[in-house]
């Protein structure tokens, strides 16, 4: 039994170390890349609805409504799963261009990301 517990402890410590190293590398990545940009969905509106970002920027949409929404590129180049309340979707824009998008459930909700 004693041996088993030691093994378990070792496993927990290893897992913790692994998690810490992952967190560390994530921080390093953030420092190297442009900061992420947030778009909040409130009242069936993308805020801001037009974004201008540098190449490599990660945009994160978060749904603040009581109703699910989606983020779908008009040209289908990116597409989120259905976002329920407080759920998020991120996409990194690698190439310059203009990316119009909309909510496929409520298509009157539209937005645009311009990548320089």
């Amino acid at each position: 039994m004693r041996q088993k517990k030691d093994l378990l402890d070792l496993a927990v410590v290893t897992l913790l170390a692994l998690l810490l190293s992952i967190a560390g590398s994530a921080r390093a990545d953030e420092a190297a890349n442009p900061p992420g940009v947030a778009v909040k969905i409130d009242n069936f509106t993308f805020g801001p609805s037009t974004l201008v970002v540098a190449r490599g920027t990660t945009v994160t949409w978060t749904n603040g409504d009581d109703i699910p929404h989606t983020i779908v590129a008009t040209d289908k180049s990116f597409k989120s799963k259905v976002l329920d309340t407080d759920e998020s979707f991120s996409y990194t824009f690698e190439n310059p261009g203009t990316y119009p998008y909309f909510c496929s459930i409520h298509p009157h909700m539209t937005g645009e990301v311009m990548v320089k």
Partner: protein, 327 residues
């Protein structure tokens, strides 16, 4: 229906700017919180609707003598658990109780979509289970946008669309009335509203082509088939084309959901109705920052439901009138 007619005498059209039979005052008056369901009775080809809670006393006889009675429920949003209603199971059960309390069991039910909130299998299962408790055993569904999330409607079709065409449209006949269930929640385009699409429109044209113009037509679909409020996407882009195929018919009734409030309108041979939700109310067009669920004070939710009568008056120029009194 005693009092409703008297009430309706006040609902005259004052200013008909759009020549559509509805002025702004009439339009607003047409909008009201309604019951947890509505009962429709075909009488002489004219569809009349009654909020279920109004069906007591003397009105029962009139309903019972209808040629065909059926019930529409809508927007049960099973799985929704936010502030606007944390007991959508309870309110759907209440709707079923109202159906079962009707003096004459309706022939069948129509569910005009948003059966579920997130298209989850257990949400569909719960609704099916609750509706099994209704006196009307047959339920005819059309999907709402919440029923086709993530899988383009695959699960919906497996459950309810085995005998349907395309993404779930179909028609059937009951006591001489031709019912048409349409799907306007698929393949929506950026910036647009509801959409039927060319394939479904072609099917509709064929479906009604050889029917006699005296056949009463009932069309049901989730999103309104007239433009209620484009700023919130409350309309169907290609509905005008669909309605053009129905022009020859003397009586066309269009039943929709989606906007979680009762609204009615008559345009030529067509009467449009939207039903209340069994789950939560939504604001009147433009009266809130968004069309999202409307939170009402605790204890008032059910009190807002089931209190509005609606009936249709035969005649080309008659405005459909809704008694919009609140309890």
């Amino acid at each position: 229906m005693r009092d409703e007619r008297d009430d309706s005498a006040d609902d005259v059209i004052l200013h008909d700017h759009h020549h559509d039979g509805v002025d702004r005052r009439g339009f607003l008056k047409c909008m009201a919180w309604a019951g947890t369901g509505a009962l429709y009775v075909m009488q002489g080809g004219v569809l009349k609707s009654y909020a279920m809670s109004a069906l007591k006393g003397g009105s029962e006889t009139a309903v019972a003598s209808g040629e065909l009675s059926f019930v529409q429920i809508s927007d049960s949003h099973m799985g929704f658990n936010k502030a606007a209603n944390q007991d959508v199971v309870g309110t759907l059960r209440a709707a079923v109780d109202k159906i079962n309390a009707l003096p004459v069991a309706p022939a069948f039910m129509l569910h005009t979509g948003d059966i579920t909130h997130l298209s989850r299998p257990e949400e569909f299962d719960t609704v099916d289970q609750i509706l099994k408790g209704a006196s009307a055993k047959d339920v005819f569904f059309v999907p709402g946008e919440h029923d086709v999330l993530g899988d383009d409607g695959k699960q919906y079709l497996e459950r309810y669309g085995k005998a349907a065409q395309g993404s779930g449209w179909y028609s059937f006949d009951a006591k001489g009335v031709h019912f048409i269930g349409l799907v306007n929640v698929m393949n929506l385009k950026a910036g647009g509203m509801g959409s039927l699409g060319p394939e479904q429109l072609e099917w509709l044209e064929r479906d009604v082509k050889h029917r006699r113009s005296s056949t009463p037509i009932v069309v049901f679909a989730h999103i309104p088939l007239w433009t209620v409020y484009p700023e919130w996407g409350w309309g169907t882009e290609d509905s005008a084309q669909a309605l053009s195929y129905l022009r020859k018919f003397g009586s066309v009734s269009v039943l929709n959901g989606h906007i979680h409030q009762i609204m009615q309108k008559v345009e030529g041979n067509v009467t449009f109705h939207t039903a209340a939700s069994t789950a939560f109310p939504q604001p009147e067009p433009g009266k809130a920052a968004s069309p999202g669920p409307m939170v009402v004070p605790a204890g008032e939710l059910r009190g807002l439901l089931g209190i509005t009568n609606a009936h249709y008056v035969k005649g080309k120029h008659a405005l459909a009138v809704v008694d919009s009194s609140l309890e």
